[in-house]
């Protein structure tokens, strides 16, 4: 098999990676052809997109060059919520083979759909991700991204399978077992959130295991922002090379962009995802190299094409050629956002979701504050809620009960456990104007 031939040797070249190395002009031809097709598909099948095109007097024929993408309307996260569940589908359900979902900004879910071809593209871009991080057939990949509706787990799973690696689908959690598996199965590559891996490093040390002595050589990290400082720490403490990957479920999941051996920016898989950088305030496209909000268009998605999706992630594109030889452009790692979303253990959280959860229990919104900390390498989220006379009970169990109900309500919407603390009235600082709802202490000390 061709795959085996190419992909066996260390540093081998995986055939799936071929588009990474296309000459720019050939790549742009592919992009334009696919852009026109996807715009036509979205125009024909998605009411919201068609009406926005019509309002601007645009038809699919208006796309004559890649630059013409700037005339197209944006898609934003609330569009997914407002058209939930099937409003943005461009394929009939009979062609859909997968649905993923996540909580929208107000706790109301959003859903994304995939045809068989979409799943194949997804598997391919994830295989290209792993290949560009130096994995090949014969590698044993421990996938500690969470499986389920979150796209991280299954995205990495299918990518590892397509690459021909051995996949251990351990999912998140149970750190002792994660470490035991790395050791017992001579795991060579691992993917998870960077904060979870730093926790794994600490736990391994407590167990008297030095990860540097094990066969692990590559870490593929994503789903939350991290820094070069964390990379140096991880690489030194675990004796591995650590790579950053990028993606979002609205576009496809992980597999939108990945670092390569140069570890200097993330290559965007431009043959499937067209990147633009805009000024988040004006919506105007910014010149190459300037920092702004990343906007992505899916060039080959069938079930749910996204046209000019505003990611809210702030970055910039690097146009200089990369030393690895890939011709697809790179983006800088994402450090911040143009909205109030934060990411905890790979889960995207909007303060408005927490509010919706608290409202659901008490009927009114209590004073609350979200506190993010990092202990032992693990991100923790605490929600402090002021006790009101209505909820106070002189019995400890009464308070325990309300605490548990608030915590469960938040877990239901966010999908993660929070440390819910009842605090005395008026202990949460009130500030003039907008209340400060999130205190992020993760990068202190």
């Amino acid at each position: 098999m061709l795959t085996e031939l190419w992909n066996d040797a260390e540093g081998g070249f995986h055939p799936a990676s071929a588009p990474d190395f296309l000459p720019r002009t050939a790549l742009q031809e592919v992009q334009l052809r696919r852009l026109r097709a996807v715009v036509a598909r979205a125009y024909q099948n998605v009411e919201l997109f068609r009406s926005r095109m019509d309002e601007r007097g645009l038809t699919p024929a208006s796309i004559q060059s890649l630059q013409d993408i700037q005339h197209l309307p944006f898609t934003v996260k609330t569009d997914l919520r407002d058209t939930y569940p099937f409003g943005l589908f461009a394929s009939p359900m009979s062609d859909v083979v997968r649905l993923h979902a996540s909580s929208g900004t107000t706790g109301k879910p959003i859903v994304v759909a995939y045809t068989r071809e979409d799943v194949e593209v997804w598997s391919e871009v994830m295989a290209r991700t792993f290949a560009s991080c130096g994995l090949h057939r014969g590698d044993i990949l421990q996938n500690a991204f969470g499986y389920g509706l979150f796209t991280g787990g299954l995205g990495a799973h299918y990518g590892g399978e397509t690459l021909g690696a051995t996949v251990i689908p351990i999912s998140g959690g149970n750190t002792d077992r994660q470490i035991m598996l790395i050791r017992d199965f001579n795991v060579t590559a691992l993917c998870c959130t960077p904060s979870y891996f730093t926790h794994m490093i600490e736990r391994a040390r407590e167990l008297g295991i030095d990860l540097r002595d094990l066969s692990l050589r590559i870490g593929i990290f994503g789903a939350e922002p991290w820094t070069d400082g964390m990379r140096h720490h991880i690489e030194a403490e675990a004796g591995i090379k650590a790579y950053d990957i990028y993606g979002l479920s609205e576009i496809i999941g992980p597999g939108v962009a990945s670092e390569c051996s140069a570890q200097d920016g993330l290559h965007v898989f431009e043959d499937h995802f067209y990147p633009e950088i805009i000024d988040p305030d004006t919506g105007e496209a910014l010149p190459d190299g300037e920092e702004g909000e990343l906007v992505l268009t899916t060039l080959s998605k069938k079930a749910m094409p996204m046209i000019r999706y505003r990611t809210r992630d702030i970055t910039r594109l690097i146009t200089e050629p990369c030393s690895c030889g890939r011709t697809i452009r790179r983006m800088r790692r994402v450090g911040r956002r143009s909205d109030d979303m934060f990411i905890i253990r790979g889960v995207n959280v909007f303060p408005s979701q927490v509010e919706a959860a608290l409202m659901a229990v008490e009927g009114t919104l209590p004073h609350y504050q979200i506190i993010l900390t990092r202990a032992g390498g693990l991100d923790r989220i605490a929600v402090e809620v002021e006790v009101t006379p209505e909820v106070f009970s002189d019995k400890i169990r009464g308070l325990e009960d309300i605490r548990a109900r608030l915590a469960q309500s938040i877990e239901r919407i966010l999908g993660i456990r929070v440390d819910l603390r009842l605090v005395e009235p008026r202990t949460i600082a009130r500030s003039e104007g907008k209340a400060k709802r999130v205190i992020d202490r993760r990068n202190e000390g």
Partner: protein, 145 residues
């Protein structure tokens, strides 16, 4: 200056509180004061008794798990602000109260505060330095007899 407090583990179900109290009552041991902390599932009964060694023996023989803890008793005037004054001193000295309970004396106009500190010796020093009256075991017995 420190007092010996007995604490007992109890399951939180009907009748569990009565049993240990009956056991020590049967031996003629009187309870000076007690407090009960509860969760949905279990409780911790804390007791100050006159003859704690005997009480502990009786309870242990009857099968309870009994802990001995050193607590500190302070007497304050039984009037508004009495407790608050004592607590302010502790707060100023950055002494954390693990838990506390209190009772009033029938005669006298005093209230007794029972404190559990992580470091009782340091707490006693602070209280004494600030002019509070720390009550030891013998004195406490004279108050209540």
């Amino acid at each position: 200056m420190k007092l010996q407090q007995l604490s007992l583990f109890l399951e939180n179900r009907p009748g569990r509180l009565e049993a240990p109290l009956a056991a020590i009552a049967a031996e003629g041991i009187n309870i000076l004061t007690l407090s009960l902390a509860d969760t949905a599932q279990f409780g911790i009964l804390r007791l100050i008794v006159r003859d704690w060694e005997k009480a502990k023996r009786i309870l242990e023989q009857a099968g309870w798990v009994v802990n001995l803890t050193e607590v500190v008793a302070v007497d304050v005037l039984d009037r508004p602000g009495g407790l608050a004054g004592a607590l302010r001193i502790l707060e100023d000295a950055n002494l954390n109260v693990e838990y506390m309970y209190a009772f009033s004396l029938r005669r006298d106009d005093k209230a007794i505060l029972i404190f559990r500190f992580e470091d009782p010796d340091r707490a006693i020093q602070v209280l004494l330095d600030q002019g509070l009256h720390v009550v030891d075991g013998d004195e406490l017995m004279t108050f209540v007899s």
